[in-house]
């Protein structure tokens, strides 16, 4: 046996042991919970039996149909109000248990834990020496075999737009900061995480209601942006530190902040209140959870207000002027430092909001959650044209839709790859991005 085989076999054995353990545990629990209440078929006729319990997140599912067959014997059974079922079976022989997925609630399916099984709703059961065996299915949210390709595609696009709008909130900030200061801010990811962590502290640790916690988190993020500019970036600008140096400083800041979050919140994932809101069907098979809908509306409203601010107000116009040409703007009497300060505050506030929305979209808050989307944000910004706010928005939506829809065609653990490859390809053919100008070629 060569080493590769050895490795694989060992892993398989480990998995086997795990499965055996789970089966044994669930058997123990089923016995404690008295399967006498189960919907029982042919139990009195045979000594041997297969029992099970169909649950979704520990909520029992009633009326789910299962078929037990093998050795010429076939019988159907439905789960009772507690999700239990029991089937008596003849001696010997292996039996296959099929769970009829059409009797599960909509959008719920048997989840394939291994990633290799095409029909996880069919399982083989062997009757052990005890004369009884437990057969449970891992049930969860899933669309397998439930929706048509077109419906899935539409749903992914809706999800992608939602994701893209959220990316856009982060991307606009990064793009504005770049436009006004020339800094590619790697610590923007941590400004995203900061918003989410603040929302978590206010809503969960302090127990305040969510509708106070989230605006407060955005305000705190704005304050964080002000602090960063006042305490770090402005002194460095005054010192005349170069752009590449600033970028490396932002990388150092990103590392320091990221591990500071881990220091205080640990390595696990925590949830904001309301992250498990139910799905509401919209049209066709497209359904969005309540939080996702609110998230989309909030993103759109914030982006529209921001666009109005950038185009119509005096300080917005000044921001665009500084983005265009800082020296000329300064010569025209614009206070560049003040504009940059405002940009940092706005960028941090929007990043913080993006963090809260990202926490609902993922779902969950982790110390490195911002870093997970940083490259997608950079891809969006580069795609749209670095330094242009509206380009960042367009790029974000493209990246969001691309990431969500690409998992229909490629394995879902490669879905970010698509967006990143597009980033590289775009640079080949239109290095300035969709809305950018040709200044980035060195």
């Amino acid at each position: 046996m060569n080493t590769a085989d050895y490795r694989r076999t060992r892993r398989k054995n480990r998995r086997g042991v795990l499965v055996a353990l789970i089966v044994a545990l669930s058997a123990a629990f089923s016995l404690m919970a008295m399967p006498a209440m189960a919907d029982e078929v042919n139990v009195d006729e045979y000594d041997n039996s297969i029992i099970g319990n169909v649950k979704l997140n520990s909520e029992p599912l009633e009326g789910v149909l299962l078929t037990v067959s093998g050795g010429g014997y076939e019988v159907e059974v439905a789960t009772d109000a507690d999700g239990r079922w029991k089937v008596g079976v003849p001696d010997g022989d292996e039996f296959s248990v099929t769970l009829d997925e059409s009797t599960l609630p909509d959008g719920i399916a048997v989840i394939d834990e291994t990633g290799e099984d095409d029909t996880p709703n069919v399982k083989e059961a062997m009757i052990g020496p005890s004369g009884s065996t437990v057969m449970n299915f891992f049930i969860g949210r899933g669309e397998r075999n439930v929706t048509s390709f077109f419906d899935q595609f539409v749903e992914r696009i809706v999800n992608g737009v939602n994701f893209g709008l959220m990316l856009g909130l982060a991307a606009i900030g990064i793009s504005l900061v770049y436009g006004t200061t020339g800094l590619s801010n790697f610590a923007h990811a941590e400004m995203v995480t900061f918003g989410a962590v603040m929302a978590l502290i206010v809503s969960v640790d302090l127990g305040w209601p969510v509708w106070i916690a989230i605006p407060l988190a955005v305000l705190l993020s704005a304050g964080f942006g002000w602090t960063l500019d006042a305490g770090l970036w402005k002194p460095l600008r005054k010192k005349g530190v170069g752009i590449v140096q600033l970028m490396i400083v932002s990388i150092g800041l990103s590392l320091a902040l990221r591990y500071t979050f881990q220091y205080f919140r640990g390595g696990g994932t925590e949830q904001l209140p309301g992250s498990d809101s139910p799905d509401i069907p919209l049209f066709g098979s497209v359904s969005l959870s309540q939080t996702n809908m609110i998230s989309m509306v909030v993103s759109i409203v914030v982006i529209v207000i921001f666009a109005w601010w950038l185009v119509k107000t005096k300080i917005g116009k000044a921001t665009r002027a500084v983005s265009d040409n800082p020296s000329l703007a300064a010569a025209s009497g614009i206070d560049v430092d003040q504009v940059v300060r405002v940009v940092w505050i706005l960028a941090a506030a929007m990043a913080g909001l993006a963090g809260v929305l990202w926490a609902y979209f993922r779902p969950g808050i982790r110390w490195d959650m911002g870093a997970q989307i940083l490259l997608l944000v950079f891809a969006a910004v580069t795609l749209g044209g670095l330094g242009t706010a509206f380009g960042a928005l367009v790029g974000s939506i493209i990246v969001g839709v691309l990431v969500e829809t690409s998992s229909l065609f490629i394995p879902s653990d490669l879905k970010y790859v698509g967006a990143l490859v597009v980033l590289i390809v775009i640079l080949l053919f239109r290095p300035q991005g969709i809305l950018g100008r040709k200044e980035r070629i060195g």
């Binding site: 080493t3 752009i243 590449v244 400083v249 990388i251 950079f378 580069t382 640079l427 290095p431």
Partner: protein, 326 residues
């Protein structure tokens, strides 16, 4: 608190394969960033390609150890070409974003379950040592003194690693004092001036990317040589840590990257042993042992910031050689 044990672990880390791997990768970055001025943020990908190339060709295709190393090096050359052709025209900060994205693509491709058969996905790869160890000229037994006491295999990996590191440092020194090296430094100082002299700047940059990439791949191989290939290693933070080591020693120097890596790992090991020990005896009552392990990464970030702001030339560098400080 066992001070002797802590000092011994720290001493041992100074010539650990991980340190040698970092030093090689930092030498590669010195070539890219220090001498050529290319802001390559994708060094983790070169290291991953080296390590996976080595492990996969041994485990799946049954190559001998030197064949595996050649495959790793070849892979890094191909990657440098694929990466360099579209991106080397870009200005510094854009290059950084694109290279970091490319590195992430490479990492995700090694991590996905789609190629589990070859890459082991999240489990990584191990058990490829037999061929390398069968070439071990050192007879069985334990050698050395104090913190540096290893068995024959431990010494074989370290001696091999140090030999490769010495060779890489010599190559870098030799090419940087050659006419080729002067053109490379010229590109860093003023690309347009070099172009005006009739040099093909793009081609020189590509050659630099390839040479530095080979150092990075060898770094990845040495890093993975004694133990296993773990996809959790080749994250973007790895590139940042190597940059920290490089800037600590001096970006545009030959020995800076080596000294930087040794200090980086020495301090890291010292802190990872000392801080939990301090927590356990109650000196740091405000943190847990888990938190004390996070502190050293916060310190890396802070050190990187302070270094770039106050001493961008590092320990050995010359401030005149730093065009990124403008």
């Amino acid at each position: 608190m066992d001070i002797l044990q802590i000092l011994s672990n720290t001493g041992s880390s100074l010539i650990a394969p991980a340190t040698i791997g970092y030093a090689l990768a930092a030498l590669g970055l010195a070539m890219h960033f220090g001498f050529t001025g290319l802001l390559n943020m994708g060094m983790a990908a070169f290291m991953a390609i080296g390590a996976y190339g080595y492990a996969i060709s041994i485990l799946t295709f049954g190559f001998p150890w030197w064949g595996g190393m050649l495959v790793g090096i070849g892979g890094s050359l191909v990657f440098a070409l694929i990466l360099g052709i579209p991106t080397l025209r870009l200005r510094g900060d854009y290059l950084a974003i694109v290279t970091i994205a490319a590195a992430e693509v490479v990492r995700l491709l090694f991590l996905t379950t789609t190629f589990d058969k070859y890459t082991g996905s999240a489990d990584g790869l191990s058990g490829y040592h037999a061929s390398f160890r069968s070439f071990n000229p050192i007879p069985d037994g334990t050698y050395g003194f104090g913190p540096w006491e290893y068995n024959a295999n431990g010494w074989w990996v370290r001696i091999f690693g140090i030999a490769v590191l010495a060779l890489a440092a010599f190559i870098l020194w030799a090419v940087m004092r050659s006419p080729w090296g002067r053109v490379i430094k010229g590109i860093r100082e003023d690309e347009d001036a070099v172009r005006a002299l009739g040099k093909n700047v793009f081609s020189y940059k590509l050659q630099s990317l390839m040479l530095g990439g080979v150092f990075g791949a060898m770094g990845g191989i040495i890093y993975a040589l004694p133990a296993s290939v773990n996809p959790g290693v080749y994250v973007t933070s790895l590139t940042f840590f190597v940059y920290t080591a490089l800037l600590l020693g001096g970006a545009a120097t030959i020995f800076g990257p080596i000294i930087g890596s040794v200090i980086f790992w020495g301090v890291q090991t010292l802190l990872s042993n000392l801080l939990p020990a301090l927590v356990n005896i109650g000196v740091l009552p405000f943190m847990t042992t888990t938190q004390s392990q996070t502190v050293r990464f916060i310190l890396v970030g802070v050190a990187l910031m302070l270094l770039v702001i106050y001493r961008p030339q590092g320990i050995l560098g010359n401030k005149k050689e730093l065009t990124f400080v403008k």
